[in-house]
């Protein structure tokens, strides 16, 4: 017979109340585990979506010259570039040390062209990469299927009367003197090239509304600048990816380029993930506090019911610390059970519920750290909530306790 035997005997005898305590903790732990597991999944999901939602690194040539503006960014005019970017530079970005974190590399060549007698800003893009980069694009019609198809911005399409299926001819504006100074460029085809409008963008309030998106190769050919790129947009795929490191690595790989991290995008990602996590922690704390309250009231009630028994223990020579140990051993045993059940329940709940919150394909990760944390939290909450009942039990006057019979 040891103190733990007494505690264990009591747990077996009072299984109804013990189950209530364990259940109170299990529900708290299950909620916390489910919330944290779902949040973690959401965090990854949101981060992945945000990462894919737009560029967070912009690569432009270092040269200073006449400028074109694109999406609030000032881009050096290709015509006056000294150290211009090429397709090889875009490929080189995929070779940096943190290449695994690079989700999208979207090179662009910007230029002014003539369409239906008007000058328009044309962006030559790699459509598969561009479509991944701009997941928010709401496209009426279809995505371009070939190099002779284009996408028109909303305002431009409205102004020029473009619809999916329309055809347009793009040509380099005839007289400007800049064409004569194209750096190493070939003369542009005055005849131009015919394109079909595959899709028209819904208005999104960005520079895209006034642009024509054309196949990069076609634009390079039209402008007589094969292989040239005005800027490269890069999307890094991670939650806390070392953006600054990646900026440095890309800068080293492309010494002629100016590499800029869009801090706002990174900060937004981190904030969104952080807010989700804070919400989960706060809610978990509330539910665990309710669990603690269940433990507290049940244990306090149990101590009151066991007064006579505690009186006998004290009369036969149990110290106050022995009584407290019995109560806390019971609380710890019940808490471990509650923690285990809660963790398992929480993970099952997360597996079932996660798809309703996030569009993830896989189940939440079964993290042993979370299991240990859940059991640890249950034991901590159970013991904390039992401290006062244990103290009360230990302080019971044996005479009063025995008289209570």
């Amino acid at each position: 017979m040891r103190l733990t035997d007494i505690a264990w005997n009591n747990v077996r005898r009072r299984w109804g109340k013990v189950t209530l305590v364990a259940l109170g903790l299990a529900i708290g732990v299950a909620t916390a585990v489910a919330l944290l597991a779902i949040t973690e999944t959401m965090r990854t999901d949101v981060a992945t979506r945000l990462d894919q939602y737009g560029a967070n690194i912009i690569v432009v040539p270092k040269a200073q010259a006449l400028t074109l503006r694109y999406g609030g960014l000032t881009v050096s005019s290709a015509a006056y570039d000294v150290g211009q970017l090429t397709m090889a530079d875009a490929r080189r970005i995929r070779t940096i040390r943190n290449a695994a974190n690079v989700s999208v590399v979207a090179p662009k060549l910007l230029g002014v062209m003539e369409m239906q007698g008007q000058q328009v800003l044309v962006a030559g893009v790699d459509f598969p990469e561009e479509l991944r980069l701009k997941g928010w694009w709401d496209l009426r019609g279809n995505a371009p299927q070939g190099s002779d198809q284009l996408v028109a911005g909303a305002r431009l399409a409205e102004h020029a009367g473009l619809k999916p299926g329309s055809t347009v001819v793009l040509r380099v504006p005839a007289p400007p003197q800049q064409t004569a100074t194209l750096a190493g460029g070939k003369a542009a085809s005055a005849a131009g090239q015919q394109f079909q409008v595959a899709g028209v963008l819904a208005e999104n309030g960005s520079a895209d509304d006034d642009l024509l998106f054309v196949d990069l190769g076609a634009v390079q050919k039209l402008l007589g600048r094969p292989d040239a790129v005005s800027l490269i947009e890069v999307s890094a795929l991670c939650i806390a990816c070392p953006i600054e490191d990646m900026v440095t690595q890309i800068g080293e790989a492309l010494p002629q380029a100016r590499v800029t991290a869009l801090r706002q995008a990174v900060t937004l990602r981190m904030e969104t993930a952080g807010q989700l996590e804070r919400f989960a922690w706060a809610l978990s704390a509330v539910v665990l506090a309710i669990g603690a309250l269940v433990v507290f009231t049940t244990m306090l009630g149990a101590v009151a019911e066991r007064q006579a028994e505690i009186g006998v223990f004290r009369a036969i020579g149990f110290r106050q610390s022995h009584i407290a140990r019995i109560i806390l051993t019971e609380a710890a045993a019940v808490s471990i059970a509650g923690g285990l059940v809660g963790w398992a329940g929480g993970m099952v709940a997360a597996t079932i519920l996660a798809p309703a919150f996030v569009q993830v394909s896989g189940p939440p990760v079964w993290d042993p750290g979370l299991a240990l944390g859940a059991i640890g939290a249950a034991v901590a909450v159970g013991l904390l909530a039992s401290l006062y009942p244990a103290w009360r039990a230990a302080r019971l006057d044996p005479c009063t306790a025995l008289r209570s019979l």
Partner: protein, 234 residues
């Protein structure tokens, strides 16, 4: 063995002082069997709990084996009870969900002994009480007399110098009560010091000395003419 000097105990009930003991002085020698008798409210149970180091007196001194027991810290008082005192309660207070053996093992739960030694001692004590073979029974599966003997076994398993009993026959039928008293007499003959509270005059005849309490004071001390020879103690 026990020296009580001018012990007074006052309780406060809703601010009103109730005096349970008034200047009681009592000595109990080692190996003596003393019965405390008196009407309800005479202070006999209070006196027993004071002897059991569970109820500090308001005034006066209590020494057991020369130790000022109420000068000890609460935890040391618990240790003292564990080492020196065995209790047999009026309602026996066996733990209903523990077997006879486990009930007897209870005081040993906080003893620094190996598990085997604990079980050996408890089994031996049960056998001494005539309960061999009934170790695994729950209190509810034992007769009243057997339960009484389990309670005595639990009180003695630690081999305490002092056995205190609070109306041990109070809730038992006459046959079972007699069995418990006979057991006390036998223990006393083996040298056990016993202080027993009883309101049963016949039970008191088992003791060497009968202390009569009245209104919290010792009214009379007497020695039965033939201690232990009454039919109840046979």
């Amino acid at each position: 063995m026990i020296q009580l000097s001018d012990v007074t105990k006052e309780y406060r009930n809703d601010g009103i002082a109730v005096v349970a003991l008034r200047g009681v002085t009592l000595n109990v020698a080692e190996g003596e069997f003393v019965a405390l008798v008196g009407p309800s409210g005479s202070g006999k149970s209070t006196l027993l709990t004071i002897l059991g180091v569970m109820n500090p007196p308001t005034a006066g001194a209590v020494a057991i084996d020369g130790i000022d027991v109420y000068g000890l810290s609460p935890e040391r008082q618990a240790d003292f009870r564990h080492e020196y005192v065995g209790f047999v309660f009026q309602q026996l207070h066996l733990i209903p969900y523990l077997s006879a053996l486990e009930n007897v093992l209870l005081p040993l739960a906080v003893a620094r002994l190996g598990q085997r030694e604990k079980v050996r001692r408890a089994t031996e004590m049960l056998a001494r009480m005539g309960l061999a073979g009934k170790e695994r029974r729950l209190p509810g599966q034992l007769s009243g007399g057997e339960q009484g003997r389990v309670a005595v076994a639990r009180a003695l398993v630690n081999d305490p110098p002092l056995l205190l009993a609070d109306e041990p026959t109070g809730n038992l039928d006459s046959t079972t009560g007699e069995q418990v008293l006979a057991l006390f007499r036998e223990l006393h003959q083996q040298g056990q010091t016993i202080v027993m509270v009883t309101h049963n005059p016949k039970a008191a005849t088992c003791a060497d000395r009968v202390v009569h309490l009245l209104d919290g004071q010792i009214a009379q001390e007497a020695q039965p003419q033939a201690p232990g020879e009454s039919p109840q103690c046979a």
